[in-house]
């Protein structure tokens, strides 16, 4: 029988790190809340019958954002056989808040007291034995990062799950009164003897009024159809479930009522009305609302436990994190530091360290070593001319052009992995929230954007932590404006070939992306479909920690490998196709590129792009192939411009590129390719997040349209000011600029009807 164990806990408590350790997988981890947005399944190493579920982090079982709902509905409705609740030991109080709720589900829980090393370092002490007794569940001290204790936690969870399964089949289960404490203070320990099923978790004790209300609610719903089955033993620990449900109903949790099958029957509705009366009576008596009563009750309960079990040196003491924060989120320095960091990332990856590596690979490896070697080999074999062409001019020129940028990408991936792991991400969101809000986005939108710097697909998925639908959609639409890893070769190519020695071109691509996001934010926010209240910004700022070299390297290798794989598959296929189309004419005769099928097609498409300054058919074709994967842009250039050159004299195709583009046109080309619709994979991700075809089409159309407008403005205005004379193109560019200015500065936002303003704050403060 398969046993399912869920890893649940607060965001950023180390669930995925432990999951990777236990299953041998390599899911992405990072130091900011919300790295995992989908549940992932894996099998426990050494115990193939045990399935582990890694869940997105949650602070409570009353979730708000889409990825948190995944966790809750899994825990509540699918009911795993056991839960490993990962608790950040350096932050016990808030983490145990979720624990109290997990214990109520009636599913056996093992608490993994994670990052115990951090606690030991600060000199805090946790009395684990006492905490075990107070919570009524087993605790294992772990340090998932170093793999300490994880296996033990998993084994305990498996044992509990098996134990529970036995209890369920015997159906001898009854709620045991002596496992319940009235106050946290006098927890009696008799129930924790070795023989008793240790999953009879203790539960939060609320005040007498609340307990009485919960009892009445429990007896009201106990006999209802769907609930009755569960309580009577269809699921493990049905009584606990009843208690959990009673609390949820007391809190007016509509989702829980629906899941329990109460909301839609006549009988259920009558009961809900009864419950409403009970709840209101308690609220009147305690002069507070039911949600507050329950949350306060839980936190008071935990505070009591923590007071007895955790000795903290000084709660408000300045830690190293705080000292770093003093500088990094300093009022004056924060923004310059952020700009400096991003500039450095690009400067190091594209212009300096990465470029040296790339130069070597391009000049030496793919410039002479590989083609010469292969050419000699082919000559020795005496292969057909067309095959030589395919291999040398097609595959090596195309795939080589892409692989050539690997050093730069690896450097970028290292730097990004470092940024993600050290804890700076959440700070950037904190610093930029004010700016982003002005532009219609939330500071939280910045995390998808930064993740998107590596690859747009996880970037788009990272937007799931944004609670408001509008803000999330807008983030999904704009995230790919930021140059991803696959666009890096385009930047590096243009910067290297047409702007040699310039240090502003590569970083400018990044800031062009930011500019596009901000401008789009303002414009889109004014449309009716995006109007409404902004996402709240209630966000945890995790402590900094120095990323482990192993972790950073692993992330780099994984992403690098994914890149190489794409080069070997999608890019390879595309280059072969491009080579074929550019080597033959319609009567299947091998011809000069300029007479090929591709030239004929390309010429037709190129007309569209000629106002942008790059009406050359090769550039047009490269842009189109870029939709399949952005690496193809460079690959296609490699095939089309590098034709025969590579094999003959080892020269790269850069000189040909310089001949085909003016720097201005090249920059316009770069701008268009950075901003237009992302690759198919990312468009697929947009579609998954939007869950709607029309939204997806709108997003893609907007991205392409915006890219066209910006690229046209860059080229036409650049030409006008460069002394190119006033043309129709200049006039169009000016019209575009005026439209943008009007959209940004003068168009009135769609007015939200007063009644729809879903704000907790008084209307005057919102306005």
């Amino acid at each position: 029988m398969a046993i399912t164990i869920a890893l649940a806990g607060n965001p950023n408590s180390g669930k995925t790190t432990m999951f990777n350790d236990l299953t041998g997988s390599s899911q992405h981890t990072g130091n900011w809340p919300g790295v995992t947005v989908e549940k992932k399944e894996g099998r426990l190493k050494g115990h193939r019958e045990v399935v582990l579920q890694d869940l997105p982090g949650i602070y409570s079982l009353s979730p708000y954002s889409p990825e948190e709902i995944v966790s809750r509905s899994y825990l509540v409705n699918d009911r795993p056989d056991a839960i490993i609740n990962i608790v950040d030991a350096s932050n016990v109080e808030r983490n145990l808040y979720l624990t109290t709720q997990l214990l109520e589900l009636g599913i056996p829980v093992v608490v993994a007291l994670n990052m115990i090393d951090v606690v030991r370092k600060t000199g805090d002490e946790i009395d684990v034995k006492k905490l075990e007794q107070a919570l009524g569940c087993e605790i294992v001290e772990t340090c998932a990062l170093r793999g300490e204790g994880s296996v033990q936690a998993a084994e305990r969870a498996v044992a509990l799950a098996k134990n529970a399964a036995v209890t369920l089949t015997k159906n001898t289960f009854a709620p045991s009164k002596n496992t319940i404490t009235n106050t946290a203070g006098n927890a009696h320990t008799s129930s924790l003897s070795k023989e008793a099923p240790r999953f009879l978790n203790r539960r939060t004790a609320f005040s007498n009024e609340v307990e009485a209300a919960l009892d009445s609610i429990g007896s009201l719903v106990r006999e209802l159809g769907a609930v009755k089955d569960k309580v009577a033993g269809k699921i493990n620990n049905g009584e606990a479930y009843l208690r959990w449900l009673s609390i949820k109903l007391f809190e007016r949790d509509a989702e829980a009522a629906k899941d329990a099958g109460i909301a839609d029957t006549a009988e259920g509705k009558r009961v809900l009305a009864e419950i409403e009366k009970i709840t209101t009576a308690v609220e009147d008596k305690l002069d507070d609302d039911s949600e507050s009563i329950i949350t306060d009750g839980r936190y008071n309960y935990i505070s009591d436990i923590v007071k007895q079990t955790v000795k903290r040196k000084n709660a408000f003491a300045l830690t190293l994190s705080d000292r770093i924060d003093r500088v990094v989120t300093n009022r004056i320095l924060a923004l310059p530091i952020f700009a400096g960091v991003m500039f450095l990332v690009y400067f190091i990856a594209v212009s300096t360290v990465g470029a040296w590596g790339t130069d070597w690979v391009n000049d030496v490896l793919f410039g002479s070593l590989v083609p010469d070697g292969v050419a000699n080999g082919l000559a020795a074999l005496g292969t057909a001319g067309w095959l030589n062409g395919l291999i040398l001019d097609g595959i090596i020129a195309g795939v080589g052009a892409v692989i050539g940028f690997l050093p730069q990408m690896l450097v970028l991936f290292v730097l990004l992995a470092f940024l993600e792991d050290c804890g700076y991400m959440a700070r950037i969101a904190f610093i930029l929230d004010r700016i982003f809000r002005r532009f219609g986005l939330s500071g939280k939108s910045f995390i998808p954007i930064l993740v998107g710097t590596g690859c747009g697909v996880p970037g788009i998925m990272a937007s799931r932590t944004i609670e408001s639908d509008n803000d999330r959609r807008m983030t999904v639409m704009t995230t790919t404006f930021i140059p991803c890893g696959a666009k890096l070769p385009i930047i590096a190519l243009i910067a290297g070939a047409l702007f040699p020695g310039s240090m502003w071109v590569a970083p400018s691509a990044y800031f062009l992306g930011i500019f596009a996001i901000l401008v789009s934010g303002i414009m889109l926010k004014k449309l009716k479909r995006f109007s409404g209240r902004a996402t709240p910004f209630v966000m945890e700022l995790p402590a900094y920690h120095l990323p482990t070299p192993g972790g950073v390297l692993r992330t780099m290798l994984e992403r690098g490998l994914a890149f190489v794989k794409r080069a070997g598959t999608i890019v390879l296929a595309a280059t072969v196709l491009v080579w074929f189309l550019s080597s033959f004419d319609t009567s299947m005769q091998m011809v000069d590129t300029t007479d090929s099928i591709l030239a004929i097609i390309g010429d037709k498409i190129a007309v569209i792009f000629s106002p942008l300054g790059w009406g050359d058919w090769r550039a047009a074709v490269a842009t189109i192939t870029g939709l399949i994967a952005k690496e193809n842009v460079v690959g296609t250039f490699g095939v089309l411009y590098g034709f025969a050159e590579v094999a003959e004299d080892g020269a790269e195709y850069w000189p040909q590129l310089i001949a085909a583009f003016t720097p201005l046109a090249a920059y316009a080309f770069l701008a268009f390719n950075l901003l237009c619709a992302p690759c198919f994979a990312a468009i697929g991700a947009i579609h998954r997040e939007m869950m709607d075809v029309r939204w997806t089409l709108f997003a893609v159309a907007y991205q392409c349209g915006f890219a066209y407008v910006i690229s046209l403005i860059i080229f036409q205005m650049g030409r006008l000011f460069g002394g190119g004379g006033f043309t129709v193109g200049s006039a169009v560019a000016i019209v575009f600029i005026l439209t943008l200015v009007w959209m940004i500065g003068f168009k009135k936002p769609y007015a939200v009807p007063a009644g729809e303003r879903l704000s907790g704050a008084p209307a005057s403060e919102v306005a």
Partner: protein, 73 residues
């Protein structure tokens, strides 16, 4: 009524009540800002919003609008 909005850097206050309604309020409470919780105001972001507070031993950031819902003494 004094709220978290009116506090300044370095203030140490105690939460009296979280006003307002809806999911944002619930989230704030779930994060540990509940009646009786001690809060230290750490800092204000470079552009005046949001604020960073220390509550229950960790750092939390909130917008000023939301901080205005939290009554403190």
């Amino acid at each position: 009524m004094k709220t978290l909005r009116e506090t300044t850097n370095g203030d140490r206050v105690t939460v009296v009540k979280v006003h307002g309604e809806g999911p944002v309020r619930r989230r704030i409470m779930d994060m540990g800002v509940t009646k009786g919780a001690e809060v230290l105001i750490r800092k204000v972001a470079p552009l005046g919003d949001p604020v960073e507070i220390n509550v229950r031993g960790y750092e939390l950031s909130l917008r000023k609008d939301d901080a205005g819902m939290i009554e403190v003494i």
